[in-house]
């Protein structure tokens, strides 16, 4: 009886692809054009709908309201990225996110396993499980289109199992033709313009004068993130600069502390990391991953619902 079932079982297990190659394919994305609808759920369960139309390497993502009208638009041509917020009538532009991390970089941080993932948006998928080797970073699950390599579903969890972020395609079609104008940046007349990740001179001066610190900001962030503002957090006689970034769904914070300020981590789990920028630590909180490090005489701490590989890439880009 067992032997009768063996060929089917053997066929299923033999068909599993290499986990790192499967992940790499998903990170690279499809090579054909596609059009889909995604549900995204971020902090505190807020859910948003997104329309995605891509003709690789160009791509357009729109967060839409209940009527399908675009509220936030992200357009990239692969090298540059524009983000338009309709409510603020503001455009952020700057360098695009560039090439994704290679699968090998993930292998350094995660144990990667692949299994059959069922169908998502009607498409057969592989499920890739990323378990952090450190135990203090976010865990991820990706469902990757078996034929086209699109990440159809993406879920992140804290070490205690709490969901941090979810996104899933509810509909996707491949090989569609798009109007080239879709991938031209939206810059309506009168829109405010800002650097995607840059502080303007006024913001920089204010941050410097208020805190006594020379501002340090990242040169790289995942696609869609923009610098929304800079605030100060006071602690006794110290002023901590709080750089605020968002992609319309998630928030990312970077904190800069005065020189010689020691960080009190409380009783959180942590592990030491070594960045090119300096010594640091990785930890986690209800808000996602936490990465702290020393760069010269500055102490920096980042909080974001991102995996450790993304946090480290951001940290390495801070100037």
């Amino acid at each position: 009886m067992l032997l009768l079932g063996a060929p089917g079982w053997a066929a299923r297990t033999a068909a599993l692809p290499d986990p790192v190659e499967t992940l790499a394919r998903g990170l690279a994305g499809p090579s054909v054009s596609y059009d889909g609808t995604v549900s995204v759920r971020g902090a505190k369960g807020r859910s948003k709908k997104m329309r995605v139309r891509c003709a690789p390497p160009a791509c357009r993502r729109e967060i839409v309201d209940s009527k399908g009208a675009a509220l936030l638009v992200v357009v990239t041509d692969g090298a540059r990225e524009w983000v338009f917020d309709k409510r603020l009538n503001k455009v952020w532009q700057g360098a695009g996110p560039g090439s994704p991390e290679e699968g090998k970089a993930y292998a350094a941080h995660y144990r990667i396993a692949v299994s059959t993932g069922g169908r998502v948006a009607g498409r057969p998928s592989w499920r890739v499980e990323l378990s952090p080797k450190s135990g203090v970073a976010l865990r991820r699950r990706l469902w990757i289109d078996r034929e086209q390599g699109l990440i159809l579903r993406d879920e992140s969890y804290l070490p205690d199992g709490t969901t941090v972020s979810k996104s899933r395609y509810s509909r996707v079609a491949y090989g569609v033709s798009h109007d080239a104008g879709l991938f031209a940046p939206d810059s309506p007349a009168g829109a405010l313009k800002a650097g995607r990740l840059d502080m303007d001179d006024g913001e920089r001066s204010r941050a410097r004068e208020s805190s006594g610190l020379e501002p340090k900001t990242p040169a790289w962030l995942p696609s869609g993130y923009v610098l929304e503002g800079v605030e100060l957090v006071a602690h006794r006689d110290k002023k901590i600069v709080h750089y605020r970034y968002s992609d319309g769904v998630h928030a990312l914070s970077l904190f800069q502390s005065p020189p010689r300020a020691r960080l009190d981590l409380g009783t959180k789990d942590r592990r030491d990391v070594r960045l090119a920028a300096g010594a640091g630590f990785a930890s986690w909180s209800d808000e996602g991953g936490v990465l702290g490090w020393t760069q010269g005489e500055t102490r920096l701490v980042m909080v974001a619902p991102l995996g450790i590989e993304a946090l480290e890439r951001i940290a390495e880009s801070v100037r």
Binding site: D85, V120, R168
Partner: protein, 173 residues
């Protein structure tokens, strides 16, 4: 006993008021200490000079000024005119002893004491400067921001109902 311990006895000895024990100890000390011998000689010579000087006449209003000074001193709670108690005498003796020790020690140890005090203050100040910044403060600031970020508000994000993001078939093989 060190030379400093004999200074008081030297004076009493020169006045003929040292006790037999004090006299014997001092004489034993003087047998081996030239410095104290010199001190004793100075005291005795001073006594001789003072004794040779004519006694100054008392000012005519000495009695009146002394009585005025006495009247201005606060009377002890136990009553005016009473002789100091043995406890009071002991306290005064202790105070004088401590002051004597201070007068003796300060020239030698004052610099070290000052340096130590400076170091203590310096360490305290440095500790205050190095007071740790709790990371929970930063996480709270991030949480506040993530709940109120303008881009999210602009999109009017709604809490996800159960199953709301379960569009499409989801069967696992």
């Amino acid at each position: 006993m060190a030379c400093s311990g004999f200074e008081v006895i030297l004076s009493a000895y020169a006045d003929g008021e040292a006790t037999p024990l004090e006299r014997r100890r001092l004489e034993e000390h003087l047998a081996g200490c030239k410095a104290c011998g010199v001190r004793l000689a100075i005291i005795l010579k001073s006594k001789g000079i003072l004794a040779a000087m004519p006694a100054p006449a008392a000012p005519p209003d000495l009695k009146a000024s002394l009585l005025r000074a006495a009247a201005s001193v606060d009377a002890p709670a136990s009553g005016l005119g009473r002789a100091p108690s043995r406890r009071g005498q002991a306290r005064r003796g202790l105070r004088e002893t401590l002051l004597g020790l201070w007068d003796d020690a300060f020239p030698r140890y004052g610099l070290a004491f000052g340096l130590a005090a400076f170091l203590v203050v310096g360490v305290w100040f440095q500790k205050r400067q190095d007071e740790p910044v709790p990371i929970d403060l930063m996480i709270a600031a991030h949480r506040q921001y993530s709940l109120a970020q303008p881009l999210a508000l602009a999109q009017g994000g709604q809490p996800s109902a159960a199953g709301q993001d379960q569009d499409g078939d989801e069967s696992e093989d």
